[in-house]
Homo-oligomer: 423 residues x 2
Amino acid sequence: MSESKVVEIICVGTEILLGNIVNTNAAYLAEKCAQLGLVNYYQISVGDNRERLTECIKTALSRSDIVILSGGLGPTEDDLTKETAAEVAGKSMYLHEESKRKIEEYFAKKGLEFTENNIKQALIPEGAIILDNPNGTAPGVIIPYENKHIVLLPGPPIELKPMFENKVIPFVRTLVPGVILSQTVKICSVGESVLETRIKDLIDNQTNPTIATYAKTGEVHVRVTAKAENEAEAHKLIKPMVNELKKRFGNNIYTTDENVSLEQSLVDLLKASELRITTVESCTGGMVASRIINVPGCSEVIKAGYVTYSDKAKRKLVGVKKSTIDKYGAVSAETAVEMAKVPEMGPRADIVVAVTGFAGPDDTPEEPRGLVYIACNVCGNVKVKECHFRGSRQKIRESATTEALVLARMCLLDYFNEKTFKE
Amino acid sequence: MSESKVVEIICVGTEILLGNIVNTNAAYLAEKCAQLGLVNYYQISVGDNRERLTECIKTALSRSDIVILSGGLGPTEDDLTKETAAEVAGKSMYLHEESKRKIEEYFAKKGLEFTENNIKQALIPEGAIILDNPNGTAPGVIIPYENKHIVLLPGPPIELKPMFENKVIPFVRTLVPGVILSQTVKICSVGESVLETRIKDLIDNQTNPTIATYAKTGEVHVRVTAKAENEAEAHKLIKPMVNELKKRFGNNIYTTDENVSLEQSLVDLLKASELRITTVESCTGGMVASRIINVPGCSEVIKAGYVTYSDKAKRKLVGVKKSTIDKYGAVSAETAVEMAKVPEMGPRADIVVAVTGFAGPDDTPEEPRGLVYIACNVCGNVKVKECHFRGSRQKIRESATTEALVLARMCLLDYFNEKTFKE
């Protein structure tokens, strides 16, 4: 097998240089390239300026095999990525009739007027591969240049991502002899440093497949990547490593599918068990419900939720006793447990997850910032967890939200294990 | 006044190149630099690699006056930003006793053990300005180099941001003769293209101050920037432009303070009027409550919220009539209005904002994706708004959330205008 190909990512747009937008395209492209086994040494952001863009593309070509540019393919005069890249590669442009027709169709379908400046988007550098854009007007292109490639993608993520998935990934695979495949094992309830200690032997001895850890809020992803002559061989290399991780982390692994989020895995589990979840939130104030409801098709498993930010709301909406709050405080294991025992006021709830905590910004001995109690009630079995989170108010609330989803998932699994055991 | 200084931003970290994290530091630094009147042509991300980092710093120094680097100041062997920058600038390093003492104190305060490798963080290049880091261990430094400056900042945003605000901004101001000041006018309920048409004359005739527009989800920010010999002069230039914007956009301006968010402005308005808000959410599923609750000190004005995702929850939790849902559907102006008339089950609510809509991913004639109704009830006066949002499920939910906050604010202002008019 040959050496790894080097990729450079160039994001074009004055809005990036002004800090108007956060450059999520760079992170997306970098992660996908890593999965493809490409090595990335530089990411560049540059404005819609012909001279500086030319310089960036030339430098990138001097040190990389594949140069991916995003942005600047639109119809306006500011958009000059394609023209500039073609010039650097010494290619002239021609009008691609089929692309023009597709752009006209796109406008017609959306009920928009086709203006002449849009023709610019159908100009294609000679010899380039055209990447259809079903989600917008500007097609992408791949310009071959000596033994290298310049890949031009539209800036909007909703256009860039499907184009990369469906067109660029298959193309890049043809450049690399053999295949590079990776699988992501997503692990919750285990901290990054603990996890790394527990797989130190695997990390130290890695060759093919390689393994890499990625810390996220409240979870860690382990990516197993194999190089092989074909897909079947790559799978054969990946499988034992994934099985080893499964052996070591068991139920802490919530998915081995790159595209499944923690909330998706919880929704799937609830669907499979025909159970319904209800949320009762104080400091997270709706974030737990919101994450579950972001999963398409969640309506089978979540019907209702309560935001009980004040003491009175905790009493009136979900029946926490005044004496409990008076004696233990609103942020206490006892209050969390009572929040999770929400009476049957709304639709049926089999599982209730409740969160109460101090998110700050204040941090006093009486109200220590980051102290959060999370309780989970699965058909009457209530568990409660004390957590200590760090960071800003927003960060603490995000951490508490993730931990609530994790606890709900764990309690659900425990419930089924016990049930199975008893049966 | 002299020409603008050029700044280059270099973010250091292998995790960026692997796409493990989204580079929010670059956007933050770019926006702050734009506000300072600095011009940014390039943003670079590079790994923890001495050779490539050296090359990036040299290139940046060849074309910029100020080079800002973030990341790689920590205690591990991988962290080599400071050593590399010092080497490029030809400075040796010395142990700064006070920084060492501060790091030791930081560890003691957190109850953590001080390990020897942390001393590395107290090594400072000769002649550098030291930037205290109250939120972490690694101090920042500014290395003067010929007539240029290399600014080194820690990677974690919670350390980088306060250090930039409190230390770097005042320093940069000393480099620029005269002052550059900007004020941000935040406008809601006006689309970007409509807004640009309404201020086309101001944009076309701008000299000093300049104006720039920034589109955000559901709002547009207009930044007015003036260059002058001193702060008072700059304010004098900015004021007439801000007043002109106020004249044109009136109540659509929710703040002229850069640091005030839409939810903060709503909370402030509620506090000033001693009114309390309650949320009733279907498709947004807790996002409206969550954004309000992210504002520190919100507990005066929000006590409770309801997530009523199912029809039954809408009936049982907030008393929507079955006949209303049967006749008009769960996503309808009628249902939204009834949701906003939540009976007095929980703590007192003066204002109720309710959201119901189709967030997708399905998009059918019966359930058109993006159709959202938002109702707002201020002390019995109910208004309802039909919205059509575009994008992914998440994006539609975010747009609906912003619009709910905007509607609550507008209804509140109307309520007071009418009240004042009647009195």
